[in-house]
Symmetry: C2
Subunit: 405 residues, 2 copies
């Protein structure tokens, strides 16, 4: 029997209990042993709940019980999660977590403690919810140099972008609708400002580089400035707008960014709609690949957590190597990255064209019916530094959105 303890009986925690109850026979068959939930740590009581008897309020009960071999941390936030996870690992217990904030900040250190204790620190559910992406990066895409990893990693904002695109709705309307449907928090900042996606791309960037990528170093722009009018231009261009979290290799450097992007119809992420997430990967020999699925939600996230429990149970006292050292990776500054830019600008194209083409290269003017006295265009590829310097000459510019590919 393999005894586990679940820290936190919230959405994901109760999902973990439910998944093990529902698919226990199959799961035990895969482990080759019986998975038993011995404790559930929560401050609350749950009278009448099947786990009522297993509730404990004191973490020490868990960490001091030598029978507990795997700890599932699904509380979220940095503290007390960090302390509990670290103490669990130091006590020789493997940990499976869905906590992206914890992994982004302390992943390298926790992996190193796990390695030293010949156990495992696993975090499949921290990125992309139920989508298998961490384990494929660690154990499937091992013959490749990963040159790009770009994801739609936040379901709330993707739901909002999808509604704005297909229904022509305003930002404020879709935010309210997302909140009413329970897809967005009352305080939606972590989602709409891109902070959630930023933690996740920091984790993926650390995994593909094998070094620590600090999320604070990643340029992060949310979707709060995206308007109905921007979406009208996107449609006119045969494109859409998505909040992308991306890490790309430029020669010997990586750069990472979270920002809204214009995406054309041929891009595999173009059709990822609603609350779904997806991760696009380009390997130097594999070429393009994509992983798609439910990026959040009780059961999909619990599915990934329990898969980690299975893996931990199959590798008790045997570390699964993960390349993520604590030495910090310096990202290429955003100013030095090259891309194309979609620009909305006030006035008439005719008078500005010559000046625009001198600064932004050969541009094609886009007009949208109903949006008078303004137009749009996509620049040639240039660094952000050059774009910003040139854009400063045009006070008429209303908005810039980066273009993917």
């Amino acid at each position: 029997m393999v005894n586990i303890a679940v820290l936190g009986y919230g959405t994901v925690g109760s999902g973990v209990v439910e998944v093990i109850a529902t698919n226990g026979a199959r799961i035990n068959q895969r482990v080759g042993d019986e998975i038993n939930i011995k404790y559930v740590l929560d401050l609350r009581e749950f009278p009448g709940d099947p786990i009522q008897e297993k509730i404990v309020h004191d973490f020490d009960t868990i960490v001091e019980d030598p029978d507990v071999q795997i700890v599932v941390e699904v509380m979220g936030g940095i503290e007390p999660a960090y302390t509990f996870v670290k103490r669990s690992l130091q006590a020789g217990k493997s940990v499976a977590t869905s906590n992206k904030a914890l992994v982004a900040k302390h992943g390298a250190e926790l992996l190193s403690i796990a390695r030293d204790n010949n156990i495992n620190f696993l975090f499949e559910a921290s990125v992309g919810g139920g989508i298998p992406i961490i384990r494929p990066l660690n154990s499937s895409l091992t013959a490749d140099e990963i040159e790009e990893i770009t994801g739609i990693l936040n379901g709330t904002t993707n739901y909002m972008m999808t509604k704005m695109f297909y229904e022509g709705a305003n930002y404020d309307e879709v935010l309210k609708e997302a909140q009413d449907n329970g897809y967005a928090e009352r305080n939606p900042e972590a989602d709409v400002e891109g902070y959630d996606a930023c933690r996740k791309i920091a984790i993926l960037s650390s995994l593909i580089s094998g070094q620590q990528v600090d999320f604070e170093d990643i340029y992060t722009e949310g979707i709060t400035q995206i308007t109905k009018e921007d979406m009208m231009y996107a449609k006119e261009l045969g494109m859409t707008i998505k909040l992308l979290a991306s890490c790309k290799r430029h020669e010997n450097h990586l750069h990472a960014i979270v920002a809204p992007y214009l995406l054309n119809q041929e891009h595999p992420l173009y059709n990822v709609n609603g609350v779904f997430n997806a991760v696009f990967v380009h390997g130097n020999v594999l070429g393009d690949a994509m992983f798609y699925g439910s990026g959040a939600g009780k059961l999909p996230t619990a599915s990934a957590v329990v898969a980690d429990v299975v893996d931990a149970a199959k590798h008790l006292h045997r570390n699964i190597m993960t390349m993520w050292k604590s030495d910090k990776l310096e990202l290429l500054p955003i100013e030095d990255t090259r891309k194309r830019y979609f620009v909305r600008i006030g006035g008439e194209a005719s008078g500005l064209r010559e000046h625009l083409e001198r600064d932004f290269g050969k541009v094609e003017i886009v007009k949208v019916e109903g949006l008078d006295n303004e137009f749009g265009f996509i620049t040639e590829e240039m660094t952000e530094r050059k774009y910003q310097a040139n854009a400063a000459e045009f006070p008429e510019i209303k908005h810039m959105i980066r273009v993917e590919g």
Copy 2:
């Protein structure tokens, strides 16, 4: 140092050599040891080729060399691949293969020999080329009961279906074009009759059930009967036609099928175009997920083979459990499976409507401009047995295509 031998210096074999040459440093870092190609088995000589010195013509040299720890089988076909792989495993060498015919036919036995010898038999590249799907099924989707796995598993036919859909081309035209581009063989039977996809879905069905699914038991229908006119109906319906290879759970039974299907725009496989492959998975807790990428080609396939080499090298003398026993699974017969059917029928709808609705339920008539004196409709959901019995009453039926979802 981990010594490997490559059996077959054809497309995939030379790809394996190239991937190891290109990404060797990174690969060795992941293994924690140096991967060295000691032998390449081929009947031919390759004067001037970097592997010239490593070419051997006799398999015994490899199997009798105790330094060889991993054998890469990329010859294809059943014999001599089967004999070589079996002897390698019996000699205590792990095997990585891209050979779908071999895996579909002898997978259970070869896995069992590997288990007995505490080594590994790995075959990621046998399904979906570079797309990680075998390892995710074995080690990521372990918390789920997999209720459906449906793939576009053959790049040649998907290229043809895509051309027919987007360019309105005829079957014969696109086949010739695919042959001219090297996407289809001169004898295209294995692809266009669905035999290739059938082997692959047999492997996936075996993995999700943990039992032997014989490919001969899988109803297999290719794309040779799909016409330009069928695609016109698909467009009119807002759908497309794809060759799907699918395995679904119906209560306690699995059924598997390879056939052209009508697919609506909301299905994640709808946008998988050209030579790309994708695998859609539905788990009882995970929900929907999809894996997408290059299903064939020298380097993507070699990427998957080398990832297996990395895994084998990290698990020398330690078996990675794969649930696939040799006891045969009885599939639900196709007659008992329920679905909807698109039917093209000669004549005018008005006269037949009452009779049609009595047999096929409430149907919506579809007419396509330019196709006079015929119409189409989609039946309500019913078993194939009932459909076939009812269809026998209508000699006017020209063609039936199954509908997914």
